[in-house]
């Protein structure tokens, strides 16, 4: 009887251990993914983000003719994932690479346990410096050192050099990723705020196409000052009791 129980336990272990090992492996996010075009983050949020007085005044007076991407500066990490252009994601144990069609630019997410470099503030990146880790089946990416010349969206939401992004990538099916991004910037916002978007997998054989922004950027000669928010009235959020 004891021997029979032992055989059963042994059989169960051979079944359970590999299954457990498989569960521990992170999901594969690699592939060709299509963003949800989001030119104005406040449209997703349903209101303007929680501006500081400074942030509100910057929003009120922003001139969209000064959009950094209009002169082909890199799009920044927020806009890379909200533009109407797809991206490739290549996943490796120690590194995840994201290659954006928009402006043919990339992000590297270091997965080897490192932190951010000490001198990051002196050498910012337009796409930021990103480190990631897995929390269960969710990839969590911390990005800092984002060049303050980039914008968060086409509408003209700006940020400071203190912007910190926390992105969470969760596969919600074979062909969908839920992307949640939290914007934390004490210069522009009174508290962190988040939006959620979905990436949808492209068809087999889809490929990234050329986007060489400087090739024929005739638009820049024709831009004229445009301040669409001059009537914006800032209403600070009410502080919650005890907050």
């Amino acid at each position: 009887m004891a021997a029979r129980i032992g055989v059963v336990i042994g059989l169960l272990l051979t079944l359970v251990v590999p299954a457990a090992a498989q569960t521990a492996a992170p999901p594969d996010l690699s592939g060709f993914w299509i963003n949800q075009y989001t030119p104005d983050l406040s449209a997703v949020l349903g209101k303007q983000p929680p501006f500081t007085e400074f942030g509100a005044e910057r929003w009120r007076t922003v001139d969209t003719a000064k959009d950094p991407t209009a002169i082909c500066l890199p799009v920044g990490p927020s806009r890379g994932f909200t533009a109407p252009f797809p991206f490739l994601l290549v996943q490796h144990d120690k590194m995840i690479a994201i290659m954006f069609e928009y402006q043919a630019i990339w992000r590297a997410i270091y997965m080897d346990g490192r932190g951010h470099p000490d001198d990051l503030a002196d050498y910012p990146y337009f796409m930021g410096h990103s480190v990631g880790k897995w929390e269960g089946n969710t990839l969590v990416v911390d990005t800092q050192g984002i060049d303050e010349r980039s914008w968060l969206d086409t509408a003209g939401h700006e940020h400071s050099a203190k912007l910190r992004l926390t992105e969470r990538f969760t596969k919600t099916g074979d062909d969908t990723i839920r992307w949640t991004v939290t914007y934390d910037d004490p210069v522009y916002f009174t508290r962190p705020w988040s939006i959620e978007r979905t990436f949808t997998r492209g068809k087999p054989g889809d490929r990234i196409l050329p986007y060489t922004c400087n090739e024929n950027n005739k638009d820049v000669e024709h831009l004229r000052p445009n301040q669409p928010n001059l009537k914006y009235k800032h209403v600070p959020e009410e502080k919650k009791p005890g907050g």
Binding site: Y37, P39, D67, C72, A83, L209, N216, D219, H222
Partner: protein
């Protein structure tokens, strides 16, 4: 019903054809929504290039020929909507509906372009995204 679908598709084309410009920078920083314009002319050049395609029209008015620049979407979005760089050819006649540039130059953001045979040209740029494949 078919007419309704056609009207809807046309509306989608009109609404979304300017979005590639909007991705690169705000539409209103370059064009004036209060200044719609319709031009009929002959294509004399096509620039299938980033960040947006341009083509150029010779427009004859009272015997005088004027060249207009017409801006469209990004090559990649047009490609995915089924357009190719030779979908229209130099010498073809086209009618363009769009909006004038704010700076007064002879530049139009194309919202719709129709070839002489009735084919709509370089529209539906956002199909890839609107359908969310």
């Amino acid at each position: 019903m078919q007419r309704g679908i056609a009207a809807l598709l046309a509306a989608v084309g009109v609404v979304f054809s300017g979005l590639s410009v909007a991705a690169h920078h705000s539409f209103a920083a370059q064009y004036d929504r209060d200044k719609p314009i319709t031009l009929k002319g002959t294509i004399n050049k096509i620039e299938w290039a980033n960040p947006h395609i341009y083509f150029y029209l010779d427009v004859v008015d009272n015997g005088a020929k004027t060249e207009w620049a017409i801006e469209g979407g990004a090559p990649s979005t047009l490609y995915r909507a089924g357009w190719r760089k030779d979908s229209a050819k130099v010498g073809e006649s086209v009618t363009v509906d769009g909006f004038l540039a704010k700076d007064g130059s002879k530049l139009v953001n194309m919202q719709q372009a129709v070839l002489a045979d009735g084919r709509k040209l370089f529209v539906g740029q956002q199909t890839f995204y609107q359908k969310g494949r």
